[in-house]
Symmetry: D2
Amino acid sequence: MGMIGGGTGSFIGDVHRKAASIDGMIDLVCGAFSSSAEKSIVSGKALYLPEDRCYGSYEEMILKEKELPADVRMDFVAIVTPNHMHFPPAKLALENGFHVVCDKPMTLTLEEAIALEKIVAKSGKLFALTHNYTGHPLVKQAKAMVANGDLGNIRKIQVQYLQGWLSTAVESTENKQAAWRVDPKRSGIGGALGDIGTHAENLVEYITGLKIDELAADLGRFGEGRTLDDDGNLLLRMENGAKGTMSISQIALGEENNLAIRLYGEKGSLEWHQENPNQLITRWLENPIKIFTPNGNDLYPEALNVSRIPAGHPEGYLEAFATIYKNFVTHLMAVLNGETIEKPDYPTAKDGVRGMKFIYAAVESDTNNAAWTKI
Amino acid sequence: MGMIGGGTGSFIGDVHRKAASIDGMIDLVCGAFSSSAEKSIVSGKALYLPEDRCYGSYEEMILKEKELPADVRMDFVAIVTPNHMHFPPAKLALENGFHVVCDKPMTLTLEEAIALEKIVAKSGKLFALTHNYTGHPLVKQAKAMVANGDLGNIRKIQVQYLQGWLSTAVESTENKQAAWRVDPKRSGIGGALGDIGTHAENLVEYITGLKIDELAADLGRFGEGRTLDDDGNLLLRMENGAKGTMSISQIALGEENNLAIRLYGEKGSLEWHQENPNQLITRWLENPIKIFTPNGNDLYPEALNVSRIPAGHPEGYLEAFATIYKNFVTHLMAVLNGETIEKPDYPTAKDGVRGMKFIYAAVESDTNNAAWTKI
Amino acid sequence: MGMIGGGTGSFIGDVHRKAASIDGMIDLVCGAFSSSAEKSIVSGKALYLPEDRCYGSYEEMILKEKELPADVRMDFVAIVTPNHMHFPPAKLALENGFHVVCDKPMTLTLEEAIALEKIVAKSGKLFALTHNYTGHPLVKQAKAMVANGDLGNIRKIQVQYLQGWLSTAVESTENKQAAWRVDPKRSGIGGALGDIGTHAENLVEYITGLKIDELAADLGRFGEGRTLDDDGNLLLRMENGAKGTMSISQIALGEENNLAIRLYGEKGSLEWHQENPNQLITRWLENPIKIFTPNGNDLYPEALNVSRIPAGHPEGYLEAFATIYKNFVTHLMAVLNGETIEKPDYPTAKDGVRGMKFIYAAVESDTNNAAWTKI
Amino acid sequence: MGMIGGGTGSFIGDVHRKAASIDGMIDLVCGAFSSSAEKSIVSGKALYLPEDRCYGSYEEMILKEKELPADVRMDFVAIVTPNHMHFPPAKLALENGFHVVCDKPMTLTLEEAIALEKIVAKSGKLFALTHNYTGHPLVKQAKAMVANGDLGNIRKIQVQYLQGWLSTAVESTENKQAAWRVDPKRSGIGGALGDIGTHAENLVEYITGLKIDELAADLGRFGEGRTLDDDGNLLLRMENGAKGTMSISQIALGEENNLAIRLYGEKGSLEWHQENPNQLITRWLENPIKIFTPNGNDLYPEALNVSRIPAGHPEGYLEAFATIYKNFVTHLMAVLNGETIEKPDYPTAKDGVRGMKFIYAAVESDTNNAAWTKI
C-alpha cells in the first residue's frame, strides 16, 4: 500500500495505517505524505519507510512506483487527503494501473464523482470508499436481519450523527482538521453533510437495502462566518414508503461521535449506536428485547465472519475500519490470483456517487426552504 | 376530588387516582365514571365510594355536588374521558364553581380550546392540564439549567415520543384504548399528534422556555384503514433560531413509552429519557459528562423541591404525575385560604391551547406536503 | 391504618404513608407519631388527621383505638420507629387484636424476633415485614423464572447493597437518620447489616427460594468512632451448593441505593438493579441476551399481576413498597371477610427471624475473623 | 518479533499478532508456531512468512535466529503457548540474548516464576507480561486519579471477572482452548484463578497502587470431573486496611468477558467495565456523577498519552493489548539506542511473580476452608 496524504499529525492517515495493519495482510511501502518532499520524508521515516519511497507529490509516487518491479511496487494507493484532493490522485492512480482506497466523501463535486465512477469501470481496477462504520459486526448483523425479513417491511427510520467539536470557532485555532472542513474550496458544497452526513446516509441504505427517495433538509450554519452547514435536520422518504428523520451536527456540544440508527419494521425493530458498537438492541411484537453481541449467540454468518475475537472482548472503530481494508484486500488478492469473489463486501464508487447526490440534494432542498428533493 | 370518566378497566382514570392519592392531600369523594348509572356505581363501589356519590352523568355530578355542603362536596373535578368529552364537562364544572384537572389534549378542536381558555379566565377557577412528564424532578432541573443560562443559547433540539402499541390493528380487537384514539370523532384531527405529540411539544417548550415558531410535518398513517396519523416526522424552528427534529410514533414496534429530549446549547447540552427518568445527562465544553439524579448532588431547588425520597430510590411515572396534582392542589389550598402563590408550577389552559395549535399546524403542514407552517 | 413513629421529618414514615395510599385501599386514621403528645398532634394535623386520633404513645393509641367502634378504629398498625422500638408496640398491638405492618429489621435482638414470631402465631393476626424490594414486578419475574426452572440449578450468586451516605461523620450532624443507625442501643448488633444487609439477604432467599446455609463475614467500621459495621464483605454458601459473595456498605462513597443481584444457573442467568428496576437482564446458553420489562412481553403472571401501568411507564421504589401493602391488605380484607387466600405474597415474621439470624451469624463470623458460620 | 506458539486456530496467538501490528512498530519475522515443523510452516505461510523462518521448535528458533545478522534476526520473542510452556522458552530466549513478551500467568508454578524473575534480572533483557487490560486509557486514568489522591484513601474494592464459556463440559468437545485450561499439567494449580483471576488481581494492584495483603478464597469446581477451580469467591484485605471482594468465574453462564472494578475512597469513587471500556464512571461527595471518556475532557496525561483516536471512536480489546506492546517496544527501542526511559509502563516479571503468589495463596486458602492467607 502507498499512501497519499496522511503526514505527521494527520488524524485520518494514522487511522488508515492502523486499520490496514491490524490483520497483517497489508504493508505500507511508500507514501506521498505531503506536497513538500522534505516533510514527506520526515513523515515516512517516522513510519520506518526508506527515504526513496517517500515522495513529494502523488504524481511522482504513482509514476515512479509504476516503474518498480511488480514484487516491489505498491499494489494500491490509499487516498487520505482533504476532499478536493481525492479525484486527481484517484484518477491518476487508476489510469496507471493501481487499485484505490479512498476516504469519503468520494470527491469535491458530484461531477467528479460521476466521472470517477466511469474511470473506475474503465480501468478495471478495484476501488474502495472507506465508509468504515459498515465494517462493524453488528451492522452486518443488522443488514442481514433486514435482508432475511426478520423485521418485516421497514416503516420508520431514525438516524443521527452528532458531534460537538465545531461548537466553537476551532477553525480559527491551529486545528487543521477544522480549517479545511469549513472551507468550500477543500470540502465542497457540504460541510457536516459531507463529513458525517454521508456516513449516515450510507449506513441507512446499507442496512436497509433501501434507497432514500427524497429528502427535506433544513441546514444550520451556527458557527460565526461559516458558509458551509455545521448542522442539519432532515426528513427522509424511502423508496418503499418508509419515513424518517436524519439529524446531523458538528455543533451538538459535548457529543463525541454519536452515530446511531433506529429502524422500525412491521415485525421487529433494531437500534445500534456507534459509540457502544458491541450491542445490537432488537425489539419484537411478542418477545422481550433481545441484545446481540459480536461473536455472541444467534448471529448470522455475515456478522460472525467479521468478528475477530471471542464475545465480550470489545472491538471498536479501528477494527471496523480494518474490515473495510480486509474485505478490499481479500478481493484484491483474489483478483491478483485470477480468482473471483462473490459479492465483495466493501463500499465502492457507486456508493461514492450516491453520497455526493445526497449532499447535492440536501443543499438544494435547504436552498428551497426544505422543499422535498429527490436524491 | 370528583372524577369524570375513568371507570373500571380504564388506564388513565386509574393513573389519575393513584397519582392524586400518593401525597395524601386528595381524597376521591365522588365520580361519574360511566354514562351508565349502574356501571358508575359498580366502579365507584370498587373504589370504596358510597353509592350516592356515584353519578350516571357528569351533568348530574356537577349539579348535585354543587348542592352539597361546602365541607362535603368535591373541590374540583378530574376529567379523564376521551378527547371529545373534555370540553363539555370542563365548561360545566367551571361555570358551576368547580376547579378542573383535565387530561390532554385539552379539547377535541382548537376552537374549543380557545373557548375553554376564556371560560377558565372568566370563571376565576383553577385549571390544570396533566402534561405529567413535566412533573419529573430532572425535567425541573433541565428547565432550571436552561433558565439559569447553564447551557447558553439553545441551538439544536431533538425530541421523540415513540410507542409501538399501534403497530398492529389493535383497534380491531377489544382494546378500548386503541378504538377511540384512531377515531377522529373522539380524538380530533390528530392521532399520535394529540395523544403523544402534544407531550413532546409541551416538554420542549417547558424545558427550553422557547416557543416553536414553525414546523414542517410529514405524517404517516401506516395502520390499514387509519385516517389519523399514527406516526410523524417533523422539523422544528424555534423562536430563537434553534432548529430541531421531532419524531413521534405509535407504530415504532417494540418501543414502550420512549419519550426523550436532547438540547444543545452554546455552553452545554443535556439529555433526558422518560423510561430512565432518574438520570439527567449533561455535556460540557471543558468538563466531563455530568449525570444528575433526583435528590442527588448539585441540583437546583426546583428539582429538589419535587424529589420525594432519598437519592437512589427511583421515582417513576406516577410520582411525576402526582407532582402535577400536588402543585395544583397546593395552589388550590392557597386560594381557598385566601393566599397567593408565586408562579404555580403546573400546565394550564394556556398550554392546552398551545397543544391544540401544535396539532393543527402539524396537520396543515402535512396536508401541504410538509410545508413550513407557523404554530 | 394507625402509624407508630413517622412524625414530621421522618423519611420512612412518609414512605410508608405514600406507599399505603397509592392503591386507594388504605386510609391513615390515627397515629402515635412521637413520644411527645404535642409533637404527635402537630405531625397528625399536617396529615389532615383529627386531633383526637393523634396519640402521645403507642400504648395509648393501641388501647384507646381498641375501645372505638369496629368501623371507626384502625384495622392495623404500621410500625416505622427505629429498631429498638419495633418489638414492644408489635407485641402490644398483636395482643390487643391488631394486625401489624413492621419495618425491618424486625427487632432489636434475635431473642425478640423469635419471641415475636410466636406472639404472631398465637395471636392469629397478620404480620407483614416491609422488605419492600420484593414488591418489584421484575423481582417477582426473577423468582418465577427460578421457580419454573428456567435458569436450572443455581450455581453462583452476587448480591450487593451499596450506599455512600455514611461516608462522612453525618451522625455528628443533625441527621437523625444517621444518629440512631450507628447506635447499638437503637439499632442492635448490626449497623449496615441490619439496615441494608437484611434486604440483600431477603432478596437472595426470596428470588432463589434457597436458604443461605453458611457465611463468612469481614465487616468494616470505617467511620471514626463507629462500633457498628458500616461495611461488609461476605462469602455465601447456599443450601444447594451454590456459592457467592455479598457486598454491603454505607461508606461506598457516591453510591445512592445500589442494591443489585446476579444469579447464575446451569441453563440461564439473570441480573437486576434496584436503581434501574424496570429491566431484568437475562442471559442464555444458546440465545441472545433477553431483557424483560414490567407489563412487557413474555412475563409470568406473578410479574404481570403486580405491574400497575402499561409498559414503558416506569414504576419505582414507592410502587414496589405499595405492593407489599397491597398484598397485605388484600390478605387482611379476605380474612375480615372470612375468606382464605392461597400463598399470600408478602414478607412475614418468619422472614424477620431469618433476617435477625443473618445479622447474628455475620457478626459472629466477623468476630471469628470471618470464619464460616451457619445461619 | 518471533512467536512461540500461536499456530492456526489459536485465539491468543492471533490477538498478539494483531495487537503487535496496530501501531506499525513491530513486524513478525519468524515463528515456532507448533511442535510439528510442517504445521509450523503452514501457519507461518498463512502469515506471509518465508518457510525458512518457520521453525519446528522454540529451541530451534532461538538458536538459529541467534546466528542471523543483527538486522535480520528477531529482536524479541512473544510466548503465547499454554502455561506449562512459558518458562522453558522464556529462559532459553533470555539466556540467548532475546527480550521476551510472555502471556500470563507467567509460569506453571510459583517456583518457576521466582526463578524466571531472577533469570530476567541476570540477563539484563526486557520482559513484558501481557496483562493487557492495564493498557486501556481509562485504566490509566483510574490509576492516575488514585495516585493523585483524587479519591482519597481507598476503603472498599469490588473486582470481578466473569465468563460463562465453561458452563458446560466444553473440554469434552473439540475446544482446544478449554482442554488445556482444565488440565493441571498444562495450567498449573489454578484454573479460573490463573486464566482470569490473575488479571483481576493485577488490575486491582495496578490501579490502586496497593498490594493485596491477605485473602480468603472459596473456590468452586462446578464442571463435572474438574479438578481445577472454575469459579471463585474471595475476600480481600489490602495493605492499607481497605477491604473488598473478588468474584471470578468461568461458569457464570451468559457472561462473555465481564471484568469490572469498583473502588471507593474517602473523597471519591470510580467504576470501570472492560466490556464498555470507554467510560470511567466516578462519584463524588458534593458533585454529580462524572463520566470520563478516552481523549475526552479533563483527563490526566497518562490517559491521553495512550488514546489513539479522537473521543467517541471506541477503542477496544486489541488497542489496549497493543498499548502493552507499544510501551514495551518503545522501551526496547530506547534500550537499543542506548537511551533510558523513565518508568516504562508495562507489566514485568515482578507482576508475574505477584500473580503466581496470588494463585498459590488462593488455592491454599481454599484448601483451608477459606482461611485468611497472606499473598
